[in-house]
Symmetry: C2
Subunit: 336 residues, 2 copies
């Protein structure tokens, strides 16, 4: 019988679940994908996770006995120590002990952490942030997530959920306690872009994406967005520019406060829109940063793209076994 | 002849200059104070700094030969390596090599850093933040400054001026590149409070502070503000509540991103208004922080008050001699 030498990475997003079997040196052996049942509740979500994980293992052709550990990234807030999702704005579950459940199902330890913590950890080990000591990641997808990686450690902070850049209030006059309006996520996420488009259509503007943004905008895929943007669809361009401006403002704010070596942009929206989006973000960030005499914000796109989350999660599970300081889901002794 | 065993701390603020002679173990032997000639240009500012420093040394009765080093805190942006103030929004100087000049005048090395870096370093060594590993300071005075102290090191970042929390954009819809409107400082500083009061008076509201907030509001002292607030002067209460809400929102944003152990509030406005202001800030921060299930933001007032800046500066000069990592004005090897 072979040793337990492989890792399973799970990336739970607001739109899709990605799973992959990964070797100890970071090679991805298989991938599986399914749509996130975001509105159907706990049982449906757990079953989808189990099924997608099994599909990845089947695809790689490996038996369960070779799984050393599982890393799972999930939108927050969550309790990494207990493996529990506390609540998530974009998926209808509450206080879900997904870590212990998956651990019983797949017979391996599960390390749960924020999805963007996992992705930025992946970028730091094997992608756009290699060799950097201070990195801030912003992931623009269905929602907006973030991660601060400081001196090679993911910052969890005293609430264990640091890095929630998407909830940064950027419109104080519209912000109300407990409401998403006025935050970065409200303006910059795919959901926010869809809302802007929907409003434009209601005001009588013509857009290729009119049908896609009806109701909650769940039918708007990042690739549709990219196509309409590239075609110069006016309301789409305006909504994307607005999204990029808010991301740039958040980066300017964080540059003024922390001035890290690098900002990494990831997530479905920034991956689909690519360089033109990056340039819009860069311009806003550089225009609004306060102190740029001695250095300007440096912003790049994720290099691992769709793999960042599952690869980072698998490697966090690998590193979590030895519990180095600051691996996602691992211990973080500096934060009591 | 005695050894060079004493330190001079200088705290240059938008309203006043504070100087003090400090022993190696942090005892303040003397203090001197003067008004900042904020509008008169470089020569007047340098002369005021020299005169106030001399007054502090005379007051302590020590000869120049006992000065081991000088620490100076100044509003930014500045270049700590060269001892140069690059520009400052509240004092009319540009590219002023104050460190080298003072060093020649007083015949001792000068360590220049951001005023709030110095103050928070003081609070960390001898005040409200003792024993904490991750601290964020917000100083509410003529302007709004800040400091991130991480694992016992002041974060300078790649632009050498990290911690500029006052320039955080909180009203994206009003923010324009290079303009202060829309930032935390615009709303929360004494200057911002004076602007709100002035507008209220112009709209016909009655206020005890009407005369004090004419023109730029330079005649509004924090103690006046505190008296009018305590007396229930309506426009003052509204302007102070607005200031505290913005400070609370900035803290909520930084709690979501970094979740440090402690936030420290300092500066003239928060010192004069005291606990009622702290409570308003706390309420806004706690209402707007996104993830508080596992820990809530912890916010306290500066303990060293007016001494924080000069004491921190003197001790940074002490520690700068040995150049420990992250002492203000010292080297910060993690930030290339």
């Amino acid at each position: 019988m072979r040793a337990r030498d492989l890792y399973l990475g799970i990336d739970l997003g607001g739109s899709k679940i990605l799973c992959g079997v990964v070797t100890a040196n970071g090679k991805i052996l298989s991938r599986a994908k399914s749509a996130t049942p975001f509105a159907e509740g706990s049982a449906a979500l757990l079953e989808a996770l189990r099924a997608t994980a099994s599909a990845a293992m089947q695809e790689a052709g490996i038996p369960r006995a070779r799984l050393a550990a599982i890393g799972m990234g999930s939108p927050g807030p969550l309790d990494p120590a207990r493996g529990t999702i506390l609540r998530t704005p974009n998926i209808a579950v509450k206080k879900l002990a997904v870590g212990p459940w998956l651990s019983r199902q797949l017979e391996a330890p599960v390390f749960l952490d924020n999805d963007v913590h996992m992705a930025v950890y992946g970028e730091w080990l094997a992608g756009a942030a290699r060799g950097m000591r201070r990195v801030v990641g912003l992931w623009i997808g269905t929602g907006v997530g973030g991660c601060v990686l400081w001196e090679g450690r993911v910052v969890h902070g005293i609430n264990r959920n640091a890095g929630e850049i998407g909830h940064m209030v950027l419109d104080a006059r519209r912000a109300r306690p407990g409401k998403a309006r006025g935050t970065l996520e409200w303006e910059a996420s795919k959901t926010g872009i869809a809302r802007h488009l929907r409003k434009a259509v209601r005001r009588g503007k013509k857009s290729k994406l009119a049908r896609r943004v009806e109701r909650g905008g769940e039918r708007l895929h990042s690739t549709d967005l990219a196509k309409a943007f590239e075609a110069g669809d006016r309301p789409t361009v305006a909504a994307v520019e607005n999204s990029a401006r808010y991301v740039g403002l958040a980066i300017a704010n964080l540059f003024d406060v922390l001035a890290p070596e690098l900002f990494v942009l990831g997530g479905g929206v920034s991956a689909a829109l690519g360089s033109p989006y990056l340039e819009l973000v860069r311009r806003a960030a550089r225009e609004h940063a306060f102190t740029t005499e001695l250095a300007r914000p440096r912003i790049v796109l994720s290099r691992l793209k769709d793999d960042a989350g599952l690869l980072g999660a698998a490697l966090a599970a690998r590193d979590g076994r030895g519990r180095p300081e600051g691996a996602p889901g691992g211990s973080d002794p500096a934060s009591p």
